[in-house]
Amino acid sequence: MSTTSAEIKPGKASLLYDPKIRGYVYQFALLAVVGFLIWSAASNAIENLRAQKIASGFGFWHNAAGFDVNQKLIPFSASGSTYGQAFWVGLLNTLLVASIGIVLSTFLGFFVGVARLSSNWIVSKLAMIYVEVIRNLPLLLQLFFWYNAVLKPLPNPRQSIELPAGFLLNNRGLYVPDPQFGPGGNLIIWALLIGLVATFVFRFWARKQQAATGKQYPIGLVAFGLIIVLPLLVYFATGRPITFVYPELAGFNLRGGIQIFPEFVALLVGLTTYTAGFIAEVVRAGILAVSKGQTEAANALGLRAGPTLKLVVIPQAMRVIIPPLTSNYLNLTKNSSLAVAIGYPDLVQVFTGTVLNQTGQAVEVVAITMAVYLTISLVTSFFMNIYNKRMALVER
């Protein structure tokens, strides 16, 4: 009787011993295990929800919300709006505070970071104290501090503090005159847009000219003319079509004008100062990472301190700065969810708070919220990575 080993083809190793095939098999097995775990967790949750007769699914999205939110960037009311719209209200509030916070904390962080390296003893020590104090206190405490610091000293609406240009300040917030565009008002916005684009084009052209001929053009002056003077000229030319609705006392509160809520201010100030503390250190690390020889070389070429920092040091420091800067942007966005503690209606407060509680659908609501934060973070990283690539050392 012959053995069946004759079936193995000579000259070719068994599939069992092929490292590539084996690699695939292991990968597949791992994938299957992970998939099974996710599937069993999900089906377990669904089974338990059904056993306790808890409503599940995403049908609640279109149900009437029945509650109100004070700060809303899109129309929302208890009477006609749905839980889905409440989600968008919360999301936009999160994005609003996060985006403004990112911009402000970047400016403040760069300022403090550079100040910490200043040769002026007082300036550098003040920057150091700022960083050490802000960085070492829990953000939640800082938010409580800012909220109470913003709220407590302010008077009630009947004794509002009058600020220049019709601004009013009280413990309900800052009231800003609401601009109303009359006929021709749109032209001013167009003028502003044209000014912005023209400035951008001019800057591009001026840079190119400088690279080719070495001649410098007054970019700042041209930008001022295009962005500020041009819209102003149009404003007067069209007969001053912008009028303002000024806030005034009506009943308990002020009516008219745009209201900036104290919760928003407290959250924005808290997030900005906190994140700026970290960004300052990132900036300092980035600048110190640039070899001293670069500064000395710039000095030898006759560049003054300002241009040296702007043209030589910062561009090289950016390579070190951008990756940790991205992390800080992501942290700021995620930290904005602490808004819930001081009553700012962000995504977590409105959606994971009120909507979750009114519908009782914790699994769905929390899953959606996590997906949203993940998306925001991935999008932020994506753009920062593109920027990072552009700034990276180009090797030839």
Partner: protein, 340 residues
């Protein structure tokens, strides 16, 4: 042979014992196993559930938990109170972190059905009210047009507020906070003109303000807020235990059984009292409890009236009148089904 007979006897006895306790509640088994009841309570509301400086909890809602613990363990101290904010409470109960939720929770249809919960009766009939500063010069909710109103999010209060102002066509601004403490703090700091919650809560919170006399509660009650203990779907016997622990307190008041006279009542000839204290009938066994379960509750916690007066009534700082919470025999709404 002898051994076989003995084994058979043991088996038969075990079977009889098991059939005596036919009702099996997984939650009860778990609580007994653990040796302590996990009770979801509020984060601190005077009169309903608040810890003192030594960490001893007291209040109307706390007494319900103590009653359940007394019925199970014959010891009102075997309760662990887990403070839950309004928005976390249902998730906590659904996920099994607490066995029972007793924290001024309003009974509504959506909570009773879609949230997978069961309400075990009403231990306090409440309604939503408003508190304002006296110097605001307002004597009615209808005069609060344009006002800022502080409230706690994730509550029926938040929804009633929207409903009431919408149906009366009054504009207002809502400022919602996650915790009760933050809400009151913001009201006190002047962020809002009015603070709204259940009327009982208003009386309790007013006393925590730095100058209680500067504030007043408006006369309108804008909603029905029947507050009661809550359990999860899926364990009917556990629902019975919690429901009847509350009913026992109310029945005790009606029967005149008090903390002080509970032991005397064991010798009573009144058949109703005999059934209550367990000297007649076997009413505890179907729930997996002892037959003197109701006696234990009154002995350790007292009857409903005692609990009311001690926590929110004349014996407390709140001085709330019985009102709707009087027994049905005295013109109130508190009415418990009979023990028989």
């Amino acid at each position: 042979m002898k051994q076989v007979i003995r084994a058979a006897l043991i088996a038969v006895t075990a079977a009889i014992c098991a059939s005596g306790a036919q009702a099996q509640s997984p939650t009860l088994a778990q609580v007994k196993n653990r040796g302590i009841l996990h009770c979801g309570s509020g984060t601190g509301l005077a009169g309903f559930g608040i810890p003192d400086q030594q960490g001893n909890w007291s209040g109307m809602d706390v007494d319900v938990c103590r009653a359940v613990a007394s019925a199970i363990f014959n010891d009102p101290a075997k309760v662990k109170f887990i403070p839950l904010s309004a928005k976390d409470r249902f998730t906590s109960l659904q996920s099994g972190e607490v066995d029972l939720l007793s924290r001024t929770t309003t009974w509504t249809i959506s909570r009773d059905t879609a949230l997978g919960l069961n309400f075990a009766g009403v231990n306090y009939y409440d309604g939503q009210g408003f508190m304002v500063r006296k110097k605001l010069g307002v004597d009615s909710v209808l005069k609060l047009a344009g006002a800022s109103i502080c409230t706690q999010q994730g509550t029926t209060t938040e929804l009633n507020l929207a409903d009431y102002f919408r149906s009366n066509k009054i504009k207002y601004e809502v400022v919602a906070f996650a915790s009760n403490q933050e809400t009151v703090k913001a009201y006190e700091a002047g962020r809002c003109d009015a603070f709204t919650t259940d009327a009982s809560g208003l009386y309790a919170e007013r006393l925590t303000l730095s100058n209680p006399d500067d504030h007043m509660v408006l006369p309108e009650i804008i909603s029905k807020e029947p507050l009661g203990p809550v359990v999860r779907h899926g364990d009917d016997v556990w629902l019975d235990i919690v429901k009847w622990s509350l009913f026992a307190m109310i029945n005790a008041e009606e029967l005149g059984v008090t903390k002080a006279n509970a032991d005397e009542m064991l010798k009573s000839d009144n058949p109703e009292v005999k059934r209550f204290v367990g000297t007649e009938g076997k009413f505890g066994e179907p729930m997996g409890l002892t037959n003197d379960w109701a006696y234990r509750i009154v002995k350790h916690v007292g009857n409903y009236g005692e609990s009311f007066e001690r926590n929110v009534g004349s014996g407390s700082l709140l001085k709330i009148a019985r009102g709707q919470n009087a027994l049905w025999t005295k013109g109130g709404l508190q009415y418990a089904p009979p023990i028989r």
